[in-house]
């Protein structure tokens, strides 16, 4: 387990919709996480609220735009802006995705998949090294939700991530909902995936809700990593299974669309915390 100042408790993704409720209630919650891309303005309410949150709670930054898996060089301006936020807020953890989202000068605003090959492993490892060098800290990389796969895959996602962690010293963020979504979309056993995940590298766990899409797909309905509802029972079960093996790890509930009132999201965190407290 990587060292971090994020406690092995449950936290939630911080949403502007909940600023007022959090200020009023000062809930007993382990930590908060934000997407740093939302805090890249110069000033105003976002920084005002994040400073107050940071004063009272541990904070994690979860990047969505670094394009770690991009074929081109990392966007140094973006990395410098991340570094400025890390200096300003001193988060306990910084994480990013095993995905790409930029090509040449266009930012595609989605987490796009990459084949798992020796070539892409070198590419991702090179980028992770660069981020860790600039931020001067160990970061965590998250397993993605995927919808397509690649004929040229040379290794499994787990082998890719384990190799990446060994080569760069980075930690891993296990997103249990992503495991469930990808497993359904590609027809593998999600239990085997969480059982095989290299537990020694896991610095954070994510939970979220997903949507089911009756798409025109021969494999049947697709699961979409929508973050628009409560965590599904099957995902709680996988989470319980992993925590039983790994012990308590910092766990985040993400809810980014159709955002509920604070008490509902807080309830999800309390559910995660009750599972953490059992081990």
């Amino acid at each position: 387990m990587i060292a971090s100042s994020i406690p092995p408790r449950a936290g939630v993704g911080l949403k502007p919709e909940h600023y007022a409720a959090i200020m009023a209630e000062q809930p007993d919650i382990g930590w908060f996480e934000v997407h740093p891309e939302h805090y890249m303005g110069a000033g105003g309410l976002p920084h005002h609220m994040l400073s107050r949150i940071r004063r009272d709670y541990p904070l994690s930054l979860h990047g969505v735009g670094m394009s770690i898996g991009g074929a081109g060089p990392l966007d140094r301006d973006h990395l410098d802006r991340i570094a400025a936020l890390v200096r300003r807020y001193e988060p306990g953890l910084f994480s990013e995705h095993l995905a790409w989202s930029s090509h040449e000068s266009t930012y595609l605003n989605d987490l796009l998949p990459l084949p798992y090959t020796a070539e892409t492993l070198s590419l991702v490892a090179f980028h992770v090294d660069e981020v860790q060098e600039v931020l001067n800290e160990r970061i965590c990389i998250e397993n993605p939700s995927t919808y397509v796969r690649f004929a040229q895959d040379e290794m499994s996602e787990i082998d890719f991530l384990a190799n990446l962690a060994r080569r760069t010293g980075c930690g891993l963020l296990l997103d249990v909902n992503n495991v469930y979504v990808s497993a359904a979309n590609h027809g593998f056993d999600p239990r085997a995936y969480v059982d095989d995940f290299p537990v020694e590298h896991v610095g954070e766990i994510h939970l979220a809700g997903h949507a089911r899409l009756d798409a025109d797909d021969p494999a049947g309905p697709l699961l979409i990593d929508a973050h628009d509802r409560a965590v599904h029972a099957e995902v709680w079960e996988l989470y319980n299974r992993f925590v039983k093996r790994a012990g308590a790890r910092p766990t985040l509930v993400e809810w980014d669309n159709d955002i509920p009132v604070w008490s509902v999201l807080f309830g999800e965190a309390q559910e995660a915390e009750s599972i953490l407290n059992g081990y």
């Binding site: 303005g41 105003g44 074929a71 796969r149 797909d217």
Partner: protein
Amino acid sequence: MDTDALQRAIARAITDPDAALPPGLIGSPARLNVHRNNIAASLTAVLAARYPVIRRLVGDDFFGAAAGTFIACHPPQNPALMEFGGAFSVFLAALEQAASHPYLPDIARLEWARHTAFHAADAEPADLSIIARLDPDRMPLLRLSMHPSAAVIGSSFPILSIWRTNSFDATVKPIALEAGGETVLIVRPHLDVVTAIMPTASDRFTAALAGGATLGDAAQAAAAHAPDFDLATALAELFRRQAFAAIIPSTI
């Protein structure tokens, strides 16, 4: 295919709704659509949050179609999406289907100014008492810094009236375009963005000030466009709304 060529093929396929699955991908067109939908829906939602009055004025269907074309023509250039969408006013001005609503581009400029003010650098606004302490004879020689969040937009349409009724009224009030133009200040002295009416040509006045002109020269620039522009009235309104950051001491 190397990684760069593969990603170029995927990037092209997900920005073209009719593209086939690039070679080497295992899946179906429906699976590629997940990425297409994620991108289109998320960026349209960003624009809708940034331009709520434009959306109300044109309706969801028109807005969705316009947003789709805009995203294809002006995709985000970096992951800080707060910088995405600034070209929407220019885009709307060139959009043939929007020609019957000639005030849309100026409304878009107003909404973008509110968005940028929300995220602008914090600064203590200058106090009105400063101006009262100054020697009136020297006032024309003074230079003022605008507050970092301040923007003044001049329009030949009543954009504040249109923006207000579409922002706050359950039933939109009819606004007579013949009523003439409005000049609007957008500023965020502390945490809340303020949107307020200003004397005509205040936009010319503040643009000149931002360019380093003295109050006297800026007032002349404004008067060239509005002969009845009054320096004292405009200054009092701008100070009252806390649109200035500081007075450059060396010029006092």
